[in-house]
C-alpha cells in the first residue's frame, strides 16, 4: 500500500514537472492591454500602408490570431481613424531584419503599438508565407508576448524558427496569451 502511494505520487510529480517545462517555453513581457475580467479586449488597429499585398498579410495574421484565442481581439480596419495602433511597412536594407514592433506603455499598460513588415528584405517581398509568419510574430509582441531566443521551441514567437514552416500561432503562443490574460 505504502509503495503504491509512493509510486502514484512520483508519477503525479513527474507529470506536473513535465507539463510545467512544456508550458513555460514562452516568454512574457511585463506589459499588457488593460483587459477586464471575463471580457475579450478589442484592440483597434489601422493600416499605415497602401500596399495591397502587405495589407493582405496583416489581414491574414489578424484573422489567424483572432481565431486561435479569445482574450484579445484585433479589429483591423481603415475606418479606425482615431486609434494610434498601426500596422504597416518599413524599408531597411538589413537582410537579417524581417519586421519590428514598437510599443508604448506607461506603467506597463500598453497604450498603442506600431508594427512593421520590412519591405527592404527581399524574402519579405517575395515570400507570402514568411510575411505571414513575421506579421503573426509582431502581433504577438503587440499583445505583450516576448521573443523566444533559442532552442527548438515550436512557436511563432521563436526568432530561430523556420519562417516558411512556422507561420501560424502555435500551442505555445496560445498558452502565452492565455497565461498573460488568464481571467
Amino acid at each position: 500500500m505504502y509503495w503504491k502511494s509512493v509510486r502514484v505520487i512520483s508519477i503525479v510529480v513527474l507529470l506536473f514537472s513535465l507539463s510545467v517545462s512544456i508550458v513555460s517555453a514562452y516568454n512574457l513581457n511585463p506589459w499588457s492591454w488593460p483587459k477586464q475580467f471575463g471580457q475579450t479586449y478589442t484592440v483597434y488597429v489601422k493600416y499605415d500602408t497602401s500596399d495591397a499585398y502587405i495589407r493582405a498579410s496583416w489581414d491574414t495574421a489578424v484573422s489567424d490570431w483572432n481565431s486561435e484565442q479569445s482574450k484579445i481581439k484585433f479589429d483591423l480596419s481603415s475606418s479606425n481613424f482615431s486609434t494610434l495602433s498601426t500596422v504597416g511597412t518599413m524599408s531597411d536594407p538589413d537582410q537579417s531584419y524581417y519586421g519590428s514592433a514598437f510599443t508604448s506603455r506607461p506603467n506597463n499598460v500598453i497604450s498603442y503599438f506600431s508594427l512593421y513588415l520590412n519591405t527592404g528584405n527581399t524574402t519579405i517581398v517575395n515570400n507570402g508565407i514568411v510575411r505571414r509568419s513575421t506579421a503573426n510574430h509582431e502581433l504577438g509582441h503587440g499583445m505583450g508576448i516576448a521573443d523566444i531566443t533559442s532552442g527548438p521551441v515550436l512557436a511563432v514567437m521563436n526568432i530561430g524558427r523556420d519562417r516558411t514552416k512556422i507561420y501560424l500561432p502555435q500551442q505555445d503562443d496560445k498558452n502565452a496569451v492565455n497565461t498573460k490574460y488568464a481571467f
Binding site: 506589459w31 518599413m90 524599408s91 531597411d92 536594407p93 538589413d94 537582410q95 537579417s96 531584419y97 524581417y98 519586421g99 519590428s100 514592433a101 514598437f102 510599443t103 508604448s104 506603455r105 506607461p106 506603467n107 506597463n108 506600431s114 512593421y116 527592404g120 527581399t122 513575421t134 510574430h137 509582431e138 509582441h141 516576448a146 521573443d147 531566443t149 533559442s150 532552442g151 526568432i159 530561430g160
Partner: protein, 232 residues
C-alpha cells in the same frame, strides 16, 4: 440551560465593523499613496531577426560567405529614417577566399550600427541611440569570415550575428553586441522614461562557435554547404 446569543452577535458585529474599517483605511491610504506613485513610461523596439547560433543556420541564410580583412572605413550610411532613424557603417573588405557565392575581390560591407528610438511624452521628444545586436567594430589587423547578402552595390548581414573573428592563434570568436540596450530619462520627480531595444542578453549560452579553431569552422562550413545544396 440556554446560552444567550447576544454576546456572540456583538462579537461578530465588532469583527465585521473592524473589517470594514480596515478596508476603508486601506482604500484611503492607497489613494493617498497613489499620488506619489512613480509613473514609468516605456518605449521599446522588438525586431523579428534571423538569429543564428551555429554554422548550419548561418550557412542556410547566406548568399555569400567570404574570408578576408576589413581595410578601411568608408562612410556612415543612413539605412532608414522611418520608423526611427537607423545608421550603419560602410567598410571596404579585401577577400582572400570565397567560401560561397561569387563576389569581386574587394567589396563594400555594411555593419548596421545603431537605431535611434524616438518617442514623445507631453509634446516633448526623447530619443536614445541603441546599438544593434550584430554590431562589432572591426579590427583592421584581424581576419574575418562574414555571412552576407547583397543589397544594391553593398553587402549586408544575412543573419544576427554574422561576423566571425579569427585571432592570431586561429581561434574563432563569434562577434556580437552584449550591450543591455537600455536608456533611462528622468522627466520629473515622479516620472521617468525607459527606452529599450533588441539585445542578445544571454546569447553566450547558445553560441556554438566561439572557441573553435579556424580549420574546424571551415570544415563545418563545408559540411553545412553540402547539406544546403542537397536540400535547397
Amino acid at each position: 440551560m440556554m446560552k444567550s446569543s447576544k454576546p456572540r452577535i456583538i462579537t461578530i458585529g465588532i469583527i465585521i465593523l473592524t473589517c470594514i474599517l480596515i478596508m476603508c483605511v486601506t482604500i484611503f491610504a492607497k489613494d493617498v499613496f497613489r499620488q506619489d506613485e512613480p509613473i514609468v513610461h516605456k518605449y521599446s523596439s522588438h525586431a523579428d531577426r534571423y538569429v543564428a547560433s551555429d554554422i548550419q543556420k548561418l550557412v542556410d541564410n547566406a548568399d555569400y560567405i567570404i574570408m578576408g580583412q576589413f581595410n578601411n572605413f568608408l562612410e556612415n550610411w543612413v539605412m532608414r529614417t522611418e520608423p526611427n532613424y537607423k545608421e550603419g557603417e560602410i567598410y571596404s573588405f579585401d577577400i582572400e577566399e570565397q567560401l560561397y557565392g561569387n563576389t569581386p575581390e574587394k567589396i563594400k560591407v555594411v555593419l548596421p550600427h545603431f537605431e535611434r528610438l524616438t518617442t514623445e511624452i507631453d509634446s516633448k521628444t526623447y530619443s536614445a541611440d541603441i546599438i544593434e545586436p550584430h554590431y562589432s567594430k572591426p579590427d583592421f589587423a584581424k581576419k574575418y569570415i562574414l555571412f552576407l547578402k547583397r543589397y544594391e552595390d553593398v553587402y549586408v548581414p544575412s543573419a544576427v550575428p554574422f561576423i566571425l573573428e579569427i585571432n592570431n592563434n586561429d581561434t574563432v570568436f563569434f562577434k556580437f553586441n552584449k550591450d543591455g540596450a537600455f536608456k533611462k530619462f528622468d522627466i520629473s520627480k515622479n516620472e521617468s522614461l525607459e527606452i529599450t531595444g533588441d539585445a542578445l542578453h544571454d546569447f553566450e549560452k547558445y553560441d556554438d562557435i566561439t572557441g573553435k579553431t579556424k580549420s574546424e569552422i571551415l570544415t563545418s562550413i563545408k559540411e553545412s554547404l553540402n547539406k544546403k545544396v542537397a536540400s535547397p
